[in-house]
Chain length 323, copies 2
């Protein structure tokens, strides 16, 4: 048996708990023991591995992430705290510190990658540490691993896609039912498909952050959020959406980026037969490759279990490479 | 620099020549030298690596594939001879012999895999040799590498898709233009989209062979071609196709396989908004995963350069693993 890869989870919300359960359900608790969990209300540790679910037993310890990494001798920091696209914190400090102290990192957190992609990936490379983040953009869509492992020797020139399920849900209902934006948004909020403050989603910023991360990895560019031209869907009227439909198009919020370093997020007309024309909360990413033309990958772009499955795939890739 | 991986190409048609050119154009001639080419009219060898294109210089040597592997001390047999779905030959003997003599194998040839999937992959596993065949099913669609490298820890329960571009082209034109099957087939033959003997394509056998290979790898089953229930598209009438269209469906030749070992290829009704509803010569494969729901991959399912790009990706995976 390979040596276990000891995990410290920073953040223990929907994704963290789903990951912990996936590890248990797949019979991987010995190979991938969760030796610590750090939340805002304290840290729980067990060198033999914690069980999934609400932390039990002893009162939490007062440890920050770095202290916890040292206290439990973890191999990998799994960074799952909430994203802040402006500062990248607290994930940015967690990840940087973990790498500086020789720990691998797997994360689903967009913020640190948007704020300092080159710095974090460079730090990992210089120290021959893993820094994987498949779950940070497109949840279960394995775009970055597809590029790394499945398109070897085949450069990607451009990417485009639908990276925000909330916007796609709103646009789909505006198209199919002729409803106004505000009505669909309120219903989406009631159903839990949209946040109480929906501005990051409907303003296009969530999609732009994911486009930055994907582009930097897949196209090997060095984009920041301010390099992306961003327009949201707030100003779209039902009549514009219906008119497009009559002419054989759907209106979709399309993120795109090219190897020349240009990137945008904006509502665009997509022909009805196009692989980019997906409905509801689905996400899609289309990579234009040099030798095999365009490849499109469609799937669920959100969800705790879906996101956790991408984190698990990354952890198993770290295990294969370093154990 | 890593040690070179010396290639022997068995078969040197469209795919073989495209691969040879891709290797040169990517600047990989030192890392992946083509030290021999075996065609039906003889073998050309050069320990320093042959240049792409019609073999030049000396008269060909009278060597079979095994003799050529030994003569040039090749590391990898790249098997690209024409597919025979009944016997698997000559590729089956080439691959088996190469593995028995300690050579890695990368192939785009469906025949050997359909006839003896378990035997060939078992032989490779027992001897810790690479046996990769991404290009054998779905050309540039990296389904098998997606499963292996991008969905770690996420079991796949079912796959379904469009695996034959010729049938999809015919069905798309029957749908969009209301033309009869025979008319579209003749035009497809004139354009080079269909073979002079189209029975393998339109009868569903080409799709069935690809489904067997994909299912055996992705679902970890042990299917043979005779386990697949196969119906082709020959009997479809324009009126049936048009009626489906009026009701919001497209008729598509769908291959499907499940983990319980059942598999079929048959014309099916696909809803217009479904990711499986792709047009023209595109292929699509949808994997139903345990943790992330369905994932669909759409792209070009045929073409010399597209197929060669999948072979190259496999060769670089062998290099990473064994060098």
């Amino acid at each position: 048996m390979t040596a276990p890869l000891r995990l410290l989870l920073a953040g223990y919300g929907t994704v963290g708990q789903a990951l912990h359960e996936l590890i248990r359900d797949a019979g991987l608790s010995q190979e991938l023991p969760v030796v610590g969990v750090v939340r805002s209300d304290g840290a729980w540790t067990d060198p033999k591995g914690l069980a999934p679910g609400e932390p039990q037993g002893e009162a939490p310890r007062d440890l920050d992430v770095l202290e916890a990494l040292d206290a439990v001798d973890a191999d990998v920091l799994v960074e799952l705290t909430p994203s802040d696209l402006d500062t990248g914190e607290p994930g940015l400090t967690h990840i940087r510190t973990a790498l500086e102290h020789g720990h691998h990192v797997v994360t689903a957190n967009k913020g640190p990658l948007v704020v300092d992609y080159a710095g974090l990936t460079g730090l990992a490379r210089d120290r021959d540490l893993a820094m994987r983040f498949e779950a940070a953009a497109g949840a279960s869509l394995p775009i970055m691993n597809l590029r790394e492992f499945c398109l070897r020797g085949n450069p990607v020139h451009r990417l485009e896609g639908i990276l925000n399920g909330t916007c796609n849900y709103i646009l789909t209902r505006m198209t199919e039912e002729g409803l106004p934006y505000g009505t669909v948004l309120s219903e989406a909020q009631a159903l839990g498909f949209a946040e109480a403050d929906p501005s990051l989603d409907v303003g296009g910023w969530d999609a732009a952050a994911k486009a930055v991360i994907l582009a930097n990895h897949v196209l090997d560019v060095d984009l920041a959020l301010e390099d992306v031209e961003v327009s949201g869907i707030q100003a779209l009227t039902p009549s514009a959406v219906q008119l497009a439909r009559k002419r054989g198009y759907a209106v979709r919020l399309i993120a795109q980026a090219s190897r020349d370093g240009t990137a945008s997020v904006a509502p665009r007309l997509v022909p009805e037969g196009s692989p980019l024309n997906v409905a509801g909360t689905l996400n899609v990413v289309r990579l234009v490759t040099e030798h095999a033309g365009p490849l499109a990958l469609t799937g669920r772009g959100a969800g705790g279990r879906e996101t956790a499955s991408a984190v698990l795939s990354d952890l198993l890739a770290v295990q294969e490479r370093y154990r």
